[in-house]
């Protein structure tokens, strides 16, 4: 089946929702697709908690705007895996292939957490930071569970606050960035609402120790997690816990952008002032252009949606605000830059590739990603190297491979295409 739209928006997080709304409000027919069961992306996932803050208010406003616009077709559980031709995306939804034809496409594919391998990180009970929050939003009960939140990035406090409100006993929040970085960051956002947001999260996690310059070095347990060892560089201590929420900030999802031929610089998609990539008719908004959080994602999404719809003046009017938000994004990257000590998190027996169970000892013998993949199967599993490849990009500075379809595992039937007819010149052998 092939469906045609004026504008296809890939990713229904804040950037994608803003792009879809902005474009649809200009009279365009828009498809908004996402592989999750509902719109909202990671930050707006699941039901709202009792606590009403800026994030939940924005979520209600935007989801309302999305749902009342009949020009937007939302396709959930829908994952793009290939670009079979110009102006065409191939996706799989409920096990069926759907091809989407577009005049313009907006890539709002978001980011994933960066995970760094350390001893014990494969134990059940160890989650990503956003990962544990997503599980709780999807119904996992955590009341009275002992949780350590660790890693890096502004997400940690937000996750800790959320977990506290859902009944978990958060025994520590550990941020690898130093107090010095955090205070400089605080000063740089002192004139904005973000300081209040951060202060709000800290207020909501009062009573939970917050350690800056602190990171996890090992998780322990038999079949599931029992404790985690933390380090501040001079001292190590072990905290009993049932759950560990651990992520080292974010890496952008740029596979589809790469497949479309977009230019990347230092891992991020290059866009012009109107969020257009160097490829005609392809726009990009949100984390893939730079990790900048909710407000920047919304601002970029609106610019992209308006520009894709041809409303250039309206798009241009939103550029100054977006650019101010980008300054904050630059601060984020500096503040939460990963410290050198994390390069030695992985020990010889630590599994680096969770799909194929390849250890640090095995993979670190090689000089580059391609030889390591071929010789050890590292990155050859179903995650296609998204977890270990990102980790090795940090640990060994290995650059990722070129991107080939399918950019996600997909059924062989879907790979075969939406139609059943083979090109004539290829059917000769079947006629024998």
């Amino acid at each position: 089946m092939t469906r045609s739209f004026d504008i296809v928006v890939v990713g229904a997080g804040p950037a994608g929702i803003a792009a879809a709304c902005a474009a649809a409000e200009q009279g365009r027919r828009v498809a908004l697709l996402d592989d999750n069961p509902a719109p909202g992306g990671q930050i707006w996932r699941g039901p709202s908690t009792a606590h009403r803050d800026a994030v939940s208010r924005a979520k209600e406003r935007w989801l309302h705007r999305l749902q009342q616009n009949p020009a937007i077709t939302s396709l959930h559980g829908c994952r793009v895996f290939d670009v079979p031709g110009d102006g065409l995306l191939a996706a799989e939804q409920n096990g069926q292939r759907v091809d989407l034809r577009y005049s313009k496409v907006v890539l709002a594919t978001g980011a994933r957490e960066l995970f760094l391998p350390f001893p014990g990180w494969t134990l059940p009970g160890v989650y990503g930071a956003g990962g544990l929050q997503a599980m709780v939003k999807a119904g996992l009960p955590v009341r009275d569970q002992r949780v350590v939140v660790a890693g890096s990035g502004p997400l940690l406090l937000a996750v800790a606050a959320y977990l506290r409100e859902t009944g978990a006993r958060v025994s520590a929040v550990c941020e690898q960035a130093s107090w010095r970085s955090l205070l400089r960051f605080g000063a740089s956002i002192a004139h904005t609402s973000r300081l209040w947001q951060a202060a709000g999260y800290r207020w909501r996690t009062r009573g939970t120790p917050f350690h800056a310059g602190c990171w996890p070095v090992a998780a322990h347990g038999g079949k599931t997690l029992e404790s985690v060892t933390l380090s501040n560089g001079t001292r190590q201590w072990t905290v009993p816990c049932d759950l560990l929420a651990c992520g080292f900030h974010l890496v952008p999802n740029t596979e589809l952008a790469s497949l479309l031929g977009c230019t990347l610089q230092q891992g991020f998609v290059t866009v012009d002032a109107l969020q257009q990539t160097l490829i005609a008719n392809v726009f990009c908004a949100g984390e893939p252009t730079g990790i900048g959080g909710l407000e920047l994602s919304l601002a970029e999404g609106e610019v992209a949606g308006l520009a894709a719809a041809g409303a250039i003046r309206a798009a241009q009017a939103r550029i100054p605000r977006r650019d101010r938000l980008r300054a904050f994004a630059a601060q984020l990257a500096v503040t939460f830059a990963l410290r050198q000590e994390l390069h030695s998190l992985s020990k010889a027996d630590t599994i680096v590739c969770r799909c194929e169970d390849v250890t640090w000892r095995t993979v670190s013998q090689y000089t580059g990603w391609r030889a390591a993949k071929l010789q050890t199967r590292c990155g050859m599993g179903p995650c296609q190297g998204r977890i270990c490849g990102s980790a090795l990009n940090f640990l060994l500075e290995w650059s990722p491979d070129s991107v080939r379809p399918p950019i996600f595992p997909v059924s062989i039937a879907s790979l075969a295409g939406p139609t059943a007819s083979a090109p004539a010149e290829l059917s000769a052998i079947q006629e024998n």
Binding site: D35, N36, P37, Q42, P47, G77, R79, R112, E113, F115, T122, P124, G125, V126, Y127, G128, G130, G131, L132, A134, M135, A138, G139, L140, P141, K223, T224, I351, R354, C355, E356, D357, G381, P382, C383, R386, I387, P409
Partner: protein, 80 residues
Amino acid sequence: MTDTVRLTVNGRALTVPAGATVAVALAIAGAACRTSVSGEPRAAFCAMGICFECRAIVDGGPHQRTCQIVCRDGMEVRTE
């Protein structure tokens, strides 16, 4: 519409809140999702459909990312 869903995990009945994902059901059941290629138990990790650690057999289909699938009444889930 009820606010709970009944399914089975490795043949044992389980009731979960409506809207729960299969990965959550497996965690509530105390079951790892899969056994890794070297024999370790593994459970949901990224919970965003990226890491593929939460793969399990859902209604007979192997290698399903359970963090992306919402539980339905009568669903049969088996660990891998």
